[in-house]
Symmetry: C2
């Protein structure tokens, strides 16, 4: 599947790139000021994940949040293998620099990680 460069894609990419936090579809839609349709935003975000440009984390509110992938020195090489933090005050999700560590359960194959810590961030403290 060949990918094309479209205005919408570039706009979503720049919004995501300029954000220090992971963003949900509705937060991105607000930033675009309605320039891009909801379905399109979801499709762009899902394509970013397929292409390894962004990663998705599902928070404990059941919503999907997206963030640009940053290479971290993870020996396990699993995608999305770091902690995320959801602040219940400012309702933002951020990627934590810390890698998730666990002991490998026997005969289990672990392919993905979805870890969120919930609380109050330093800004809201």
């Amino acid at each position: 599947m060949k990918r094309r460069n479209t205005e919408s894609k570039e706009l979503v990419l720049s919004i995501l790139s300029n954000s220090t936090k992971a963003m949900s579809q509705d937060a991105i839609e607000r930033k675009t000021e309605g320039k891009i349709d909801r379905a399109t935003i979801y499709r762009i975000l899902n394509r970013f994940c397929e292409d390894g440009i962004a990663h998705k984390v599902v928070a404990d509110d059941g919503k999907r949040y997206f963030a640009i992938c940053v290479k971290c020195d993870d020996p396990s090489n699993l995608p999305n293998n770091h902690f995320h933090f959801r602040c219940t005050e400012c309702e933002t999700i951020e990627c934590m620099p810390e890698i998730v560590k666990y002991s490998q359960p026997e005969n289990y194959t672990i392919k993905k990680v979805n870890c969120v810590l919930i609380g109050v961030c330093s800004e809201c403290a």
Copy 2:
């Protein structure tokens, strides 16, 4: 709020107690063979969580799964502070015995943990 003992509550409790896995509302509804209404099941489950009888984990599919709380020797004393595992083959969620460890980020307050590892369990391997 005083709690009453009802048939529905006891049924949900026994289903959950007899399960080795965390269960979603629809899985429980299937087990009850339609004896209890969807909304009632959700209300019972949410009450269990309020009362500390069960805990809820949101998986990366965005669904809520419930399991009876088992005391584990967690020094942090955080609720729900252990890993969960979602098997993409049998679509079940189980509580892992391992506690989630992370280094405390400065000036952050962590109140809850929602950690899911995703892959293939030993039975489906």
